[in-house]
Symmetry: C2
């Protein structure tokens, strides 16, 4: 594994991503890294003046949970194929603020000085230019931008313009652009092949004194969309001209600038949408929101926004002492997770967040297995919102189960936004039935971490039971396998193998799923038998069916190879020819871009952790020795072509005592996007990998495992670090954990006394009584 | 298995398909059944006057081997996917001959009497109408049509019009229609969604005195196409008007008709194409062909055509005594095979022949495994042409092998016309590597039947070796399987299971392929070492590589299940849940139209013969007991949703002594199209099934197996029959075999004495000394 030095375009800082001196524009990559979002809206870090002619650029502003549908084309179609793709909606770009001096446009490309900075404490983006016109007029322009975390509909821009060596007029064009083109792929990103206008039908376009508004029906969707802006100026403009073009509306403002007297322009860009409101009601709602934010003004809005960010860091921050690049990486990741995650229970978190249109903005199991592992332990309310989203799409999952010939139950889609299956290649899509287990796992993790039984009552149980019952339709008690419960014809997490019998991961996760479903049934029966009866009635569930769940869980077939002492990935994996890694040059990775799926499928080669992931997720179900043997067998066969892989290996290497390797794998995930290690961050960040880097630290190096009755830690310190610390919000407590080479300091910041287990020893952690416990070198 | 009575629309006759009294038009089905072809051109049995308003119809005239390319659309694409589909070219319809009396069009729908007839002795189609105008003018119109088997470019129509109760003028519109629409699917066949004009670019359009000609560049293809006609009239027309529309050109001829004096109109429609000629040269070639056929005239052309058909029947006829419906079925099948098969070495035989655009006119393994089994034994020259086609596309197969990461060798496409892979769903496409073995099997069968070593020298060896070497790249000597040679990640003939390890059929056929390749190498080394050296040089083949072929063949892993005593279809098949046939209603078949592939894949359910097919094709490699056990295991799991299935089961039931079942399965294949048993003959005949019905009789009931040194027979007579007879052209001999309940009569019509084996006893068959040998009831 090669580890390049940190991206030289940026300085290594603990709380910021700032361009370094001698900075070279990385265009599309910068646009992703400087993107802002708040869970509802996201916008790429493109410039207010727009891209330069010939510059690689991919404009994009997105709304989470809003999509348009496109019919999926198949060369050969078959029964039950997903019919439509739901694509994350691109919305009009309200960032455009172009400054002209004597008809010359101020631009970063022509600037004398340029400094760009993502401030991670305030989740805001700043850009400072010094620019000079061809006649020598010099301007200092400071841009600031936030996707408000207190007002989810608001994207807010602030512009401070200072004439450094002249007084005179300037003009500012402020635009709402509903026709921008964006690049479909990197092969020729200069030409945006796709226009957002293709999916938007204008229903209203209005220009006021300093405000503008467009309403669109999103084509092939239930969504009505309103986009608009208004301004606040430190001095009123001399003149205002309205600009009313077909796909762009806006204003041109002329100002008199006095030397060294800054002009401040604030632009409030608001987006809102509805499935139910009519055009007029949506407009009224938009205007009411606009009045509110105008009333507050930039300073108050910024303060409220920053307060939200600070609260997040209190729950979530990780401090690394002794490795500034890693410190920067983990904070960047944690910030982007917060900015990306949907917070309304109707949306989720895309594999690329809201920073690019990669994967069409789809939600995957990434949410449940990676992102919720982090959120459940630190920000349980955010975790709950993601699960609520799944509940709101449960009916879609029920429909999909029927399409797949399951007479009852629910099958969640492999990739989706609105809840319908959007995967156009079922062997690496619908075949991944483990999505159901992932959702059950996340419900369990959230419940273990939060103790939120109310959520189980309201939503969790229904999801859990509807997904659980599907396993019984899918699998069978196999007489040729001593009556063990076998699951055939599925694909596990490793997409370099497809449609197999008894994928170890799937079977193991299904067993855990069924066991937990039965546990929840037990609690209902013990504590709330009325409620249990009503659930049974609602879901036509019987005691007999629950008994079958238990039987399937008890008899679940988990393949084991006696000779190798490992868990075979599936019934046929070990029989295959090993991949010829020695003769695969570096430029042939990722394999999926250089080999036909059949070539990959017939070899022992993994895209990502599969058995190894099960070893982590179900960690108390397997002995350490098995984990170590599985890791030793599978890691050399794993390409890590998926960004979901190295973090899991980091955790498992840590758990089995190989700290050096754990650190190597961690390094690969923590700066994945910052250093563009997979070469595709141009189209968006990798949210699962970001969460995975937190997991590497907390579940890996600190060895955290959340049990129903306690928290388990098994701390170790990477050799390169002096120490690290992090916060948790578990079991209703707020904790701080600080790990050095010698000892671990546990501090209960809020909540009742709590049992923890430190390297195998149970201790009671009490309020205001931090515990300092020595770390044993050898955890075995 | 349900067997409906023979299609009541037709009388049961030995040499014809004639409409019965009270005949109801079956529109699209009739169009297929009355289609004509000659291997180069094919045209559906649509009426000269065109379809009626609102009539279900699918017009179509096709050229074999001529196609246009269309980009394949994928919702999610991956490396190495087939990029373009090659679609059989629809060409202008020259059949249009509309008769008008007082501006009323003569049509079948408005006729007083109508009789339609496919004459199987002359491969011609006749239609006789009695029609009356609204003013009571009555016409007898006799249409006749042939796709000339002596002049492959020629479609010839003849019209005899007799005024029965009047004398007066009539007019005839003769059209060449380059804009007709055809139905894409049966869901709404009345509206043709597709127009042939979409794929044709007009380059020349010319109208002469009685002739017309259009030239087109076939879009996205290398083909230039010329279509044209000329006429011969028994009396000259009174007036001629040229009709020159955008997509249709033609003539209107006015004639004076005398009562009871027939007017005869002959229309010569010619099609030719070229990859290399320019527009002018192609026209000249067309005109020269036209001059030739005009010079010959209908009678001579018809005589020459009929001579070809007669010769075919001498080689190929099967006579069934005691079952007229079966007799009609087998002759219908054999005629269509002759009409469909490409005869120029540059084309092949489509799964639907030239009778409809089903499967886009693609060639599959159907040719090698089914159709060549019949042709090699009866018409070796035709068999050779099909193999020559494969040789001409060997370079495409080499390219495809490289795309699939095989460093040498050739991988034939699963479906194609021009030689490129056209399968848009690789799990049931490119994954069917057994296509290579099918071609090798056909080379061997042809060679065994014909002894044509010259073909091996010129083409066969190169194909055989290039395809053989691929197995070594594909499979591996598996240390976990005692070093046996295993082949992973392929799909066998049964497409209800996909991408498996060690598909029994594939492994067994690969073994036979490699064994035969080594045999051929041996003969080269013994007889022509110079040639062998040059082949080695040309193909960079070494003795070491050939030794590896032998090693792989010797160590080929052929799965066997001790407990069940059967051959598992693949490594995982027997582990799966059996399909719930009891709860699958009849309207849920074929399963592929009612269940997602994943649902089908995870069950023990077959679309078609897989292991059972290997039992037949490699018949001397397996003991009778194993064949019987495999048949008993797999047949109940087989839906026969493919038309390639029942014929193979008929053969294997016959071979293992269950004659009653053999006959049941045979019945299902022999009138498959005539009785439209699979409900899709509207879009074309099923050529493989047609050949399969011959195989059921000859390889099944007569038990023919062709060995290098002899012919083996194991005759039995279906209980319903009095006897049956057939001809063979094997080992350079022409034989007639006649089987009754009591005895079998072998007659050598031409060629040297020959050893045959009759029910296990070897005898010498000599010229002019027919042998009558008693049939033993029990063949075991």
């Amino acid at each position: 594994m090669k580890h390049p030095s940190p991206n030289p375009a940026f300085t290594v800082e603990p709380w910021a991503l700032s361009t370094a001196s001698g900075y070279q524009d990385q265009s599309m990559l910068d646009e992703t890294l400087f993107a802002l979002a708040n869970g509802y809206l996201g916008t790429r870090g493109t410039a207010e003046e727009g891209a330069e002619e010939g510059q690689f650029s991919c404009e994009g502003t997105y709304l989470n949970g809003v999509y348009h549908s496109e019919e999926i084309q198949y060369g050969e179609v078959a029964y039950g194929y997903a019919t439509h793709n739901q694509k994350m909606q691109q919305v009009p770009n309200g960032k455009v603020l172009q400054i002209f001096v004597d008809n010359e446009k101020v631009s970063q490309a022509q600037s004398l000085e340029c400094q760009r900075r993502l401030d991670m404490q305030s989740a805001s983006y700043q850009r400072e230019l010094v620019w000079q016109s061809s006649q020598g007029k010099r301007l200092q322009v400071n841009y600031q931008r936030m996707a408000s975390l207190s007002h989810p509909n608001l994207l807010c821009l602030r512009l401070e313009i200072t004439a450094l060596n002249f007084s005179g007029e300037i003009s500012i064009k402020s635009i709402l652009d509903a026709g921008y083109r964006f690049a479909a792929n990197k092969s020729d990103p200069r030409v945006g092949q796709l226009s957002i206008a293709d999916s938007l039908q204008l229903t209203r376009s209005e220009l006021g004194h300093s405000d503008a508004r467009m309403q669109h029906q999103v084509k092939d969707s239930p969504f009505l969309l309103c986009s608009g802006y208004d301004h606040h100026f430190s001095v009123p403009p001399l003149r205002t001209t309205q600009l009313d073009h077909d796909l762009q509306i806006g204003h041109q403002f002329e100002f008199a600038l006095n030397q060294n007297k800054p002009l401040v322009v604030e632009k409030y860009v608001l987006y809102n949408h509805s499935r139910t409101m009519d055009d007029t009601t949506l407009k009224a709602s938009h205007q009411s929101l606009m009045a509110e934010v105008r009333e507050l003004g930039w300073d108050k809005l910024f303060a409220q926004h920053t307060e939200q960010v600070k609260a997040y860091w209190r729950n979530s921050d990780v401090v690394i002492d002794g490795d500034p690049a890693m410190q920067q990486g983990i904070r960047f990741n944690l910030l982007h997770l917060f900015m990306s995650v949907g917070k309304d229970g109707k949306s989720n978190i895309g594999a690329k967040g809201l920073t690019g249109h990669g994967y069409d903005g789809h939600y995957f199991w990434d949410t449940e297995i990676y992102i919720l592992s982090f959120l459940s332990a630190t920000n349980p309310a955010l975790a709950r919102h993601c699960l609520e989203y799944r509940y709101h799409t449960l009916d879609g999952a029920r429909r999909r189960a029927r399409e797949m010939s399951h007479p009852s139950g629910a099958l969640y889609p492999w990739r989706t936004i609105g809840g319908d299956e959007c995967s156009a290649f079922f062997p690496a899509g619908t075949a991944q039935y483990h999505i159901n287990a992932a959702i059950a796992h996340a419900i369990k993790s959230y419940y273990l971490a939060s103790g939120d039984w109310q959520f189980i009552l309201e939503m969790g149980a229904e999801m859990l039971f509807e997904t659980a019952r599907l396993w019984l339709h899918l699998g069978h008690f196999n007489p040729r396998c001593d009556g063990r419960f076998c699951i055939d014809g599925v694909t596990g997490p490793d997409e370099y193998t497809a449609i197999v019998n008894n994928n170890f991961y799937t079977n193991a996760m299904a067993k855990a799923h069924l066991d937990f479903a039965v546990e929840v049934v037990d609690r209902f029966q013990r504590e709330d038998s009325e409620r249990w009866k009503s659930i049974c009635h609602q879901l036509t569930l019987t005691e007999e069916e629950v008994a079958l769940w238990q039987k399937a869980a008890d008899l679940m077939y988990l393949p084991y190879d006696e000779k190798l002492g490992i868990s075979p990935q599936d019934d046929s994996f070990l029989e295959k020819k090993p991949w010829d890694f020695a003769n695969t040059p570096a430029n042939q990775y990722p394999l999926l871009l250089h080999f036909h799926p059949l070539v990959i499928y017939r070899h022992q080669v993994l895209k990502q952790a599969d058995v190894v992931l099960a070893m982590f997720l179900l960690d108390d179900a397997f002995p350490q020795e098995l984990k170590a043997r599985n890791l030793a067998y599978y890691e050399p066969l794993t390409t890590h072509d998926s960004t979901l892989s190295t973090c899991i290996h980091a955790i498992e290497f840590a758990e089995t005592g190989d700290y050096e390797k754990a650190y190597e794998f961690f390094k690969d995930s923590v700066r994945m996007d910052l250093d563009n290690l997979h070469g595709n961050t141009e189209y968006g960040i990798h949210t699962a990998c970001m969460a995975g880097s937190w997991m590497s630290i907390v579940n890996g190096f600190a060895g955290l495992r959340i049990r129903a009755d306690k928290l388990v830690f098994n701390p170790s310190l990477p050799a390169h670090w002096r120490g690290f610390g992090f916060n948790l919000n578990c079991h209703g407590r707020h904790l701080h954990i600080q790990i050095s080479a010698r000892e671990t300091r546990y501090q209960l910041l809020r909540g009742d006394n709590l049992e923890i287990e430190h390297q195998g020893k149970k201790v009671l952690l009490q309020k205001d009584q931090p515990l300092c416990l020595a770390n044993q070198g050898d955890k075995a």
